[in-house]
Subunit: 233 residues, 2 copies
Amino acid sequence: MKDSRREPAGDKLAPKAVVNRVCLYLRQLEVFQRQGETTVSSSQLGAALGINDAQVRKDLAFFGQFGYPGIGYRIDGLIGELRRVLGIDRDWPIALIGLGNLGRALLKYKHFRRRGFQIVALFDNDPHKVGHTFDGLPVHQIDKLAEVASTRTINLAVLSVPADVAQIVADQIVAAGIPGILNFAPTTLTVPPSVSVVAVDLSVQLEHLAYKVLNSQSGFPAPASLFDEANGR
Amino acid sequence: MKDSRREPAGDKLAPKAVVNRVCLYLRQLEVFQRQGETTVSSSQLGAALGINDAQVRKDLAFFGQFGYPGIGYRIDGLIGELRRVLGIDRDWPIALIGLGNLGRALLKYKHFRRRGFQIVALFDNDPHKVGHTFDGLPVHQIDKLAEVASTRTINLAVLSVPADVAQIVADQIVAAGIPGILNFAPTTLTVPPSVSVVAVDLSVQLEHLAYKVLNSQSGFPAPASLFDEANGR
């Protein structure tokens, strides 16, 4: 039993959609925990998130056997297991590269620190920023990345630079030995297979919202009337 | 045939994961189109994105019969169909509410405009910002939302205000008759069923990256060594 919890099923990396749902389960379990609950069933967990119970069980089974017959899931235990599976049972020191508006917003983003993600070093190439401090952290020139990464552990890089320099900076991140990049630049990065990249494209979320609004079945104006004025301009 | 393209299968709203993948297919088809390709198979499309061909066919079949036997998909046609399905074959005038660092970053985010999402009105409650212009747009007081929305079409709201005021502002968005909210505030919004919400939680993306790095099978330092130093601090 213990062994089955230590490794993902068949040593396969869980699909992106599964990992994203597990992140949601964890958040919901933490809500239940704050409400004083001690156990939860897959259907209760799913109902709170609009996901059916079979999907919940299948997703969790990808990472091990967490449920107890007749009880469901023990909330404290499952939170601990999922935090371990996701790797957020530890600190992740992060380099933030690019201190434009987006970078500065990310620096203040409280959700990151709450999940163990701590921005510990800042980089930018703007001479007006290098040497100054933001939120108590000094800004280094980007070509100092390898040097800074050699003096302290940095496990992830958050890349919020303009698209036209993103690949050059990604090459420097790779050269510095940082194994993960969260890419906010609207361009596809080429990195060796040893480096993981997750790309954030915020327009995907807007497209999803547009799709939901257009297909809303709740009596909102039909697409045609929604867009009469917009189309008439 | 035509009819089957006009409506999602069984009038069901496509699951979030399907919509997100279709957004990716559309982006990849546009890459192929720029490269001068005219047709593509489900396996070519999938291979470019690391998604298997059966999944590609199943996702696209949710919205209609787009493939041609022996040819695959006609790229121009499929792009047009997917843009229509996703609702990005038209303009989406957007209100951006909250002009902190994140809001100002979103205002400059070129991806939005490229996909038909155009920020047309700005709102904030900071007296230093109200009445000033950002990128040529005047900033209105948030309680002017309904008034501004009544004089011009606004179909979506991008909400980038602090968590503690997000619900109050969401209520004002609902009262103004805006049917969709992209919520960047780290809090869950309560809205009537007639209003669609897509929540953006950027820490989910970091958790997914952490998971990928920890489970990378490409010879990177194992989790223990990756974290020796971090744990020893």
